[in-house]
């Protein structure tokens, strides 16, 4: 491949879509440009109004307390005040939604402005690998702070640290119900049993850590081990609570000995004798460096950056880098960058709606006043931020995104954007700046022959090579 097409691949496949002038910055050493992004600090987001998870959940406390009081009052009263309770029920989303939107806008802006777009794409990749979804209300306010607190600080660090940060974050614990899971022989369960109440395990987090976050579904674990691991994770919870359950700080991780299942557990053939939180830390440490984890992560990275069905030798190469470095992520990314198939000149990944919108935003240097409409566009194209709808995250294959209706919406959206900006963004000049050597003669010709500047821009944004990366 030529250096020129390498630049376009670096900016579009590895990055988030070229900004005008970016291909010149990439220059002739595309791999060097990408690798240089890995050696600066963690990619932070700064924007007015961003709060920590602890602040957000603390702010929700009075609303939750009032709602509980109203529910008790209703249970006591013979005549119910349903409308009052319903009004209270609305207050939580009314509190959380603006927080969510602030996070979405900050994330959008960070992606548009980033001069290290590979790192920003990696943030999105890991955020999707460790997916939480705002269609569960408990997560609505804190999906964004989860990404800022658990993903960003570790995206250029070790996988092990990333894993620990994720699995102990309130958003993940709430999303996969672990704060509810109680060891059947824990102190709390025994106390409850004395009052005729059964408390016990919830397997949700344990299963998804094994299946989705580390080993992968074919990683060689059994149902018995899922259950053992669920016992290990009992006690991984949040601060707060009332009466005898009060402990820790609201909105931060809290290990609760009271609900932890005592005794040794066996996971993947290894016996863990540690007590309390140390038991979970020991299992996660082993999972973080297991060969099956290396293979699973390598497969997902290769699928994201190379092809829907990635070449096995490319996966093996990335997995080897993972294993040899003990999960040192910059080493893994460098192996990915050095994989020859990633530089295959044929654009091979169909953009997700997020990819597509970000590449438009960066390519056209979309000004901030468009942001409310942009959020609508994400929803319209089927990828509302932080809402993959399942712990598996958004799918990453062309067939998941290339439906006819979706294509028509991209076309209509491009046309609407072009109507608005066509007189200020000259497609003829822009096309080579965004697509570099991947710009085809057919697209160049269709843009040149367009009947109007806005039509030319619509033809650029809908071009086959702009639909892919």
């Amino acid at each position: 491949m030529t250096a020129e097409s390498d630049a376009a691949i670096a900016a579009n496949r590895f990055g988030l879509g070229a900004r005008p002038g970016e291909l010149a910055i990439v220059g002739t050493d595309a791999r060097g440009w990408l690798k240089s992004q890995l050696h600066a600090g963690a990619p932070a987001v700064t924007a007015d109004g961003l709060q920590s998870t602890a602040q957000i959940l603390t702010g929700a406390e009075p609303i939750l307390a009032e709602r509980r009081a109203a529910q008790r009052a209703r249970a006591d009263a013979a005549t119910s005040e349903d409308s009052a309770v319903a009004t209270l029920a609305m207050r939580l989303p009314q509190y959380l939604r603006p927080i969510y939107l602030t996070e979405c806008r900050a994330r959008w802006r960070a992606a548009l402005d980033s001069g290290r777009p590979l790192v920003e794409r990696l943030v999105h990749f890991w955020s999707n690998h460790f997916a939480v979804s705002v269609d569960k209300q408990a997560v609505l306010g804190i999906a964004g702070s989860f990404e800022r607190e658990a993903i960003r600080p570790h995206v250029l660090g070790r996988f092990h640290d990333l894993l620990l940060a994720v699995e102990s974050h309130p958003a993940m614990l709430l999303y996969l119900d672990n704060q509810q899971s109680v060891g059947p022989n824990s102190a709390l369960a025994r106390r409850a049993a004395g009052r005729g109440r059964t408390l016990g395990l919830n397997e949700n987090l344990a299963r998804e850590i094994l299946e989705l976050h580390t080993l992968g579904v074919d990683g060689g674990y059994t149902q018995t081990e899922v259950t053992s691991f669920a016992r290990v994770l009992t006690g991984w919870s949040l601060g707060g609570g009332k009466g005898p359950l009060a402990s820790g700080t609201v909105g931060t991780f809290e290990f609760r000995s009271l609900v932890h299942e005592p005794g040794a557990q066996t996971v993947l053939g290894r016996r863990y004798d540690e007590g309390d939180q140390a038991q979970g830390l020991a299992v996660l440490a082993d999972l973080a460096t297991a060969p099956a984890t290396a293979h699973h992560i390598a497969t997902k990275l290769a699928r994201h950056f190379i092809a829907d069905e990635p070449p096995p030798d490319a996966v093996a190469r990335i997995a080897r880098a993972f294993e040899r470095s003990g999960g040192d992520l910059p080493t893994v990314y460098a192996a990915l960058i050095d994989t020859p198939q990633a530089w295959d000149g044929s654009t091979s990944k169909f953009k997700t709606p997020q990819d597509y919108l970000l590449s438009i935003g960066r390519g056209l240097d979309l000004p901030p006043e468009n942001e409310p409409r942009v959020m609508g566009a994400f929803e319209l194209l089927g990828q509302r931020p932080f809402a993959p709808g399942s712990p598996a995250g958004w799918p990453d294959r062309s067939s998941d995104w290339d439906g006819a209706s979706e294509l028509m919406k991209r076309i209509e959206l491009s046309d609407a954007v072009a109507q608005k900006l066509g007189d200020r963004r000259a497609a003829v000049q822009l096309a080579p700046q965004l697509l570099g050597a991947t710009l085809t003669a057919a697209t160049r010709q269709s843009i040149t022959r367009a009947a109007s500047p806005s039509q030319a821009l619509a033809l650029l944004l809908t071009a086959p090579e702009f639909m892919r990366r």
């Binding site: 089927g382 439906g403 006819a404 209706s405 076309i411 619509a458």
Partner: protein
């Protein structure tokens, strides 16, 4: 819907030479009038709560507060056959059962025996024994196997919603349609985009499908719409959770058309009840009630087409026999499924009940499956859609000979 775009369609990509032209050679009218609808319940619906086996001696003990009592008790199940009941949220299904338009299946499962949602759904949709064995869904294969002349001839399906689920994916092309608030694009720009896509097989196919489907959607809304054009073989939809009404009405408008699609798919979610599942008044009951209300609207909107319709409701697997520690249930194996519709020979529970005793449970924790869900599907494909047994064995469910079940469909 855009009149402009429809006018554009009439021009038939006048530029000529476009690969798109062939797709608009409009098809012969429908021959089959049978309609099949698959409602996927993603997340592993708890069959022991949807169809409580209240008479099983172990049920109440295992389920604790989640147990739904016998009919006639406070908050009890809706009576079926003396052994099983329906969740109190399923009042419409219960009426349909009484009218002999609903069949209930229990202890049913796909061949999948692990407990991953995503692999389980893959098997539910591919119809093959192993996950990730194919990128072609069984319903796509089934439609391709419809008797000659039974479809509308157009190589065309419609997905209502942005994404096409695996069960519909495959060589028989699928279009998708969903309402958009964006202004319509002008004809000339669209023509130029179509020209540019002519050398791109994927994009040209998708664009032509989108244009054809827009027209159907426009006409589906109009009672006296123009006659003629093509006919979707398939539609699918993924309505937002709880917002099913508009989608079922739109789908009914598609299905009612004489040359409408033979097949539709809806995705539903919200069934993964690890926490606070609840009993008679609980979360799951409320969610079932929302779906039940949508089914009633669907029946009403279909009008006389209901008599020619079979709806399958099924999930990827069931949930644990016992309640978990957080008033919910974890991933299990055996599940319940439903057939519903005017063409169903209903009013029975079809089940070889394995029981819930400790020794009877699968791996000591789940309802043991005694019926392959694909036998139900295969029987419906043969007896309702008229697909030949030979094609069903060779092309739709090729991995092994599955038996047929008697009397699922009205003669």
């Amino acid at each position: 819907m855009s009149t402009m775009r429809r006018d554009f369609l009439k021009l038939g990509f006048a530029a000529g030479g476009s690969a798109l032209c062939a797709r608009f050679a409009f098809a012969a009218p429908a021959v089959t009038d049978a309609r099949f609808v698959f409602i996927i319940q993603r997340g592993a619906l708890d069959g022991l709560s949807a169809v409580p086996p209240y008479a099983d001696p172990d049920y109440a003990r295992l389920r604790e507060q989640l147990a739904i009592g016998a009919p006639g008790t406070a908050g009890g199940a809706l009576a079926l056959d003396g052994q099983f009941g329906l969740n109190p949220g399923l009042s419409f299904v219960h009426e349909a059962y009484a009218a002999r338009e609903a069949l209930v299946f229990h202890a049913v499962a796909t061949p999948y025996r692990e407990r991953s949602h995503f692999d389980g759904q893959d098997v539910l949709e591919s119809g093959l024994p192993q996950p990730h064995a194919s990128q072609v869904g069984w319903l796509n294969r089934a439609v391709a196997a419809l008797p000659a002349g039974a479809t509308h001839g157009a190589e065309l399906g419609v997905a209502l919603g942005p994404n096409v689920p695996l069960v519909l994916r495959g060589p028989a092309p699928i279009a998708s349609w969903s309402p958009t608030k964006l202004p319509d694009i002008d004809e000339d720009t669209l023509q130029r985009i179509a020209d540019r896509y002519a050398s791109d097989p994927l994009l040209s196919a998708r664009l032509s499908e989108a244009l054809a489907t827009d027209r159907i959607a426009a006409e589906a809304g109009a009672p006296e719409g123009p006659s003629g054009p093509p006919a979707a073989a398939m539609i699918s939809a993924r309505p937002a959770y709880g917002r099913y009404t508009e989608t079922v009405q739109t789908a009914a408008n598609f299905l009612k058309r004489e040359d409408g699609p033979a097949v539709a798919v809806f995705d539903t979610t919200g069934w993964d009840t690890h926490f606070n599942e609840g009993g008679t008044q609980g979360q799951l009951t409320q969610r079932l009630a929302i779906l039940d209300a949508a089914l009633r609207t669907f029946r009403d909107s279909l009008g006389e087409t209901w008599s020619r319709t079979v709806i399958l409701l099924a999930t990827e697997f069931g949930r644990t026999a016992a309640a978990n520690g957080t008033r919910g249930t974890d991933h299990g194996t055996g599940a319940a499924a439903l057939l519903l519709g005017g063409a169903v020979h209903g009013g029975r529970v079809v089940c070889d009940w394995p029981g819930l005793s400790a020794g009877a449970l699968y791996q000591g924790r789940d309802l043991r499956p005694t019926l392959d869900l694909r036998s139900v599907i295969k029987t419906v494909m043969r007896d309702h859609l008229g697909i030949s047994a030979r094609k069903l064995d060779a092309e739709v469910f090729p991995d092994r000979a599955l038996s047929y079940l008697p009397d699922l469909i009205r003669a």
